[in-house]
């Protein structure tokens, strides 16, 4: 998970680990890219509004990196405007979750569904 809010990172960690995921997180886009390159995770939860490098830039970098481009990315944002959704989907995001309306448990279920059904 690449997310600038520490509280949200820890909240998601609790829920994902409880549901059997190996969960690691980064506090900004730059760190997130490093970790992604180093660990090559099965799936990335990506926030949009972050300081320095924002989520959409990170998404672009991931999708432009042939080694990383196959990793599914789920956008996790409070920005509910359709234009943000469209933009993210165009850039290659797998899904777009409104962070304020979805609980970590529900997000984890969605991730599980995506990973078990990789098409």
């Amino acid at each position: 998970m690449i997310e600038d809010e520490e509280q949200i990172r820890s909240m998601y960690q609790v829920a994902f680990e409880a549901l059997g995921f190996v969960f690691d997180s980064a506090g900004d886009g730059e760190k997130g890219m490093e970790m992604t390159k180093a660990n090559k995770p099965d799936l990335i939860l990506l926030d949009i509004m972050m300081p320095n490098v924002d989520g959409l830039t990170v998404l672009t970098q991931i999708k432009n990196d042939p080694n990383l481009s196959t990793i599914p990315v789920i956008m996790l944002s409070n920005l509910s405007a359709q234009e943000n959704v469209d933009k993210a989907m165009t850039l290659g995001a797998k899904n777009y979750i409104n962070k304020s309306l979805v609980k970590p448990r529900e997000a984890a279920e969605k991730v599980k569904a995506i990973l078990s059904n990789p098409i």
Partner: protein, 707 residues
């Protein structure tokens, strides 16, 4: 009085008066003098007749003289020797003397010889008793006997010239031995002869005649009191001249009427007529002349005066001047009307000046920039606000096209077509408002532009554009919006953490076991934080809607399928409340044009509302096609909405319920407002179709069908 009556009347009066005077003068003076002349001429005629008769008598007298002063005759009346008669007096003697009677009396008055002879008929006439009875005849009296007499006498109703002379010796010495009488009838032959001398028709009647014609009677009456002649103007052509003659006893005996042609009178009359005609011509000319003078006085001079006064007013330009009063005829009326018109013009002009100044002041004072163009979109007027707004001087803008001075941008700050403003005004000539950005020399400004065509007598003479500067408001809105977005985002994060973390605890991810009380408390906290999140989201939606920032993804949407999926999705909620959800689609209609996500949001909102306020019964959804639109009706058997609250339904932050109900239902009060705004954006409308407290409500919205 009107001039058109005044002038002809004046003309008529002048001519009539003139003619009356002329006629009076001519008839009383000139024609009378002709009549006098005629009378004098008639007197001459009469005198000539008298002279003719006197001449007869004189001739008779001279002829008798040869016989009375003759020795033979002197002796004869003494000796009565018939030889004298035989040798001197034959019938032819009468003819040669042109007499009818010859009588010799002796000194005693007895007839010595007397004979009468009709020369025409060659007949001997007997002596009338008149000549024999000396006692009855005045001139046979002894004292008169020797006196010669001559004159007219009436002998038994016949008029006769007689001469009565003493018979003397040849040398004319006496004593007279007797008297000699010559007599001659004044018969019709004689009258003809007199008429021939007079060269006029001549008639006569005896004075003593008892059966006189009327004119003779008049003459006789006249002669009883007057002398001279009596004139009777029988006609225009004929004048009767009556002359009275006396006999030798100096008694009236005969009236002669000589008929004279009235040449003098005719001539006089002709002259008078010619004179009158001449004077009439002269009179008319004079009258015309006078009229021209009067015309000048009555009209032309006044007209000139009026013209001068009007000319004075013209160049002065002062509408407060007036022409002076001109009486009560047409000219007066003209002057009055002119003054009245001036008055009207003056007040109209003052009103116009006031209106202009008012407009000028208004345009100068208002905060809106006003640009007026002619029909070719060339700027003809700009107000003070224009200079302030756009950074141009007025002179820089005048006579330029709008497109030369300004750049226009739409709401999203994309450049607009050059003819945008013109199109705007022509699309709604009576006034139209739109928000755009406009850039002159200064910074770009957000303005609401209102435009209108200037119509003069049904023709477009120009256009007026009013720019209301809303840059400040737009900026403020933007700041507010930014603030709202940030605030919402900032609020959401902690809320997300709260509800997510609580959910983690409830799920037991922390491996801790919870008491029922703790669990309940945590569940309440989760639902409250969820509600708070919904509120924040709704506020954000409202904010976006009002900013016009909601971007719709309009596509064809199978509305029936969408409702069915919602039905399935919401089924658990209905099951929990024990309420039935029915979906009726009356026929197979095509898809609608809509944003699927927003449409879903709208339908869920309506069903959710109904569900919130319905405790038993059912909620039904109906699809039908009306007027080419898909109509979606959501009906419930819920508590319904009172009539006086219905108007609050679609207002922001309003719930038509009392506070307790609303709180229990957990709404934000923004759902219907947002739903209706979304429907509007998708080209439809939303209304509360009917609602009755305790019976239920029906909400209804439309969407355009895909073609």
């Amino acid at each position: 009085m009107k001039l058109r009556i005044k002038i002809p009347l004046l003309f008529l009066v002048v001519v009539i008066v003139f003619m009356v005077i002329v006629h009076f003068i001519l008839s009383s003076v000139v024609l009378k003098s002709y009549l006098d002349l005629e009378s004098q001429e008639a007197i001459k005629v009469s005198e000539r007749l008298q002279q003719s008769i006197q001449d007869r008598l004189t001739t008779l007298d001279s002829k008798s003289g040869d016989w009375s002063n003759w020795d033979d005759a002197y002796n004869f009346v003494v000796n009565k020797n018939q030889e004298f008669i035989k040798s001197n007096i034959q019938n032819t003697t009468f003819a040669s003397l042109n007499i009818n009677f010859m009588i010799f009396y002796d000194a005693t008055g007895s007839v010595v010889f007397g004979q009468g002879y009709d020369n025409q008929n060659k007949k001997i006439l007997t002596l009338p008793p008149f000549f024999l009875n000396k006692d009855r005849q005045q001139f046979f009296t002894p004292e008169n006997f020797s006196q010669p007499r001559l004159g007219l006498v009436n002998v038994d109703g016949k008029i006769m010239y007689i001469v009565f002379k003493p018979i003397l010796t040849s040398i004319g010495t006496g004593p007279a031995h007797g008297m000699l009488l010559f007599g001659r009838y004044l018969d019709s032959q004689e009258v003809k002869s007199l008429a021939a001398i007079e060269k006029n028709p001549l008639e006569y009647h005896l004075y003593s005649d008892t059966k006189l014609p009327w004119d003779y009677k008049n003459a006789k009456n006249y002669f009883q009191n007057n002398k001279g002649i009596y004139l009777l103007r029988e006609s225009e052509q004929i004048l009767g001249t009556y002359t009275l003659f006396y006999d030798i006893y100096n008694k009236p005996i005969i009236i002669f009427e000589e008929t004279v042609n009235r040449d003098i009178y005719s001539y006089g009359k002709k002259n008078t007529y010619i004179t009158e005609l001449f004077l009439l011509t002269a009179g008319v000319a004079t009258a015309l002349f006078m009229i021209i003078i009067l015309l000048n006085k009555l009209i032309l001079s006044r007209l000139s005066k009026l013209t001068r006064e009007v000319q004075k007013i013209g160049p002065s330009g002062s509408l407060s001047l007036r022409v002076s009063s001109f009486g009560k005829d047409e000219l007066g009326t003209l002057a009055d009307e002119f003054n009245k018109t001036l008055g009207n013009l003056e007040s109209a002009t003052q009103a116009k000046i006031f209106a202009e100044q008012r407009s000028q002041s208004l345009l100068g004072v208002i905060e809106e920039a006003v640009i007026i163009t002619n029909v070719n979109n060339t700027i003809v007027y700009t107000n003070d606000a224009c200079e302030k707004f756009f950074g141009y001087k007025k002179e820089e803008m005048n006579n330029k096209l709008i497109s030369e001075c300004f750049e226009l941008f739409d709401k999203k700050e994309k450049p607009l077509d050059r003819s945008f403003l013109k199109k705007l005004v022509t699309s709604a000539p009576s006034g139209n408002s739109v928000t755009i950005y406009i850039k002159g020399r200064n910074e770009k400004l957000a303005v609401i532009v209102t435009s209108s065509e200037i119509m003069v007598e049904n023709a477009i003479r120009g256009r007026i554009y009013v720019f209301h500067n809303i840059t400040g408001e737009v900026e403020l809105d933007k700041q507010k919006d930014d603030f709202f977005s940030i605030a919402s985002h900032e609020l959401r994060t902690p809320l997300t953490v709260i509800s997510g973390s609580l959910d983690n605890i409830i799920q037991g991810y922390g491996k801790s076991s919870l008491s029922d009380v703790d669990l309940k408390a945590l569940q309440n906290s989760v639902s409250s934080s969820e509600r708070l999140t919904r509120l924040v989201n709704d506020y954000l939606d409202v904010s976006r809607l009002e900013q016009g920032r909601v971007v719709l993804n309009i596509k064809t949407v199978e509305a029936d399928a969408l409702v069915k999926s919602i039905e399935v999705e919401m089924q658990p909620l209905f099951a929990k409340k024990g309420i039935e959800l029915k979906f009726n689609c009356d026929k197979n209609h095509g898809p609608v044009m809509a944003d699927e996500d927003k449409l879903k949001e709208v339908i869920i909102n309506l069903i959710g509302n109904s569900l919130k306020f319905t405790e038993k019964g059912e909620i039904s959804i109906n699809h039908s096609v009306e007027n080419g639109l898909l109509v979606t009706r959501v009906s419930d058997t819920g508590m319904g909405i009172a009539k006086d609250k219905q108007h609050l339904l679609f207002a922001r932050f309003q719930q038509a319920m009392d506070n307790t109900t609303a709180r229990r239902a957990g709404g934000t009060g923004l759902g219907l407002y947002i739903s209706r705004e979304l429907v509007k954006l998708m080209g439809g409308t939303m209304v509360l179709e009917k609602s009755e407290p305790g019976v239920g409500s029906t909400f209804c919205f439309t969407l355009p069908l895909a073609k």
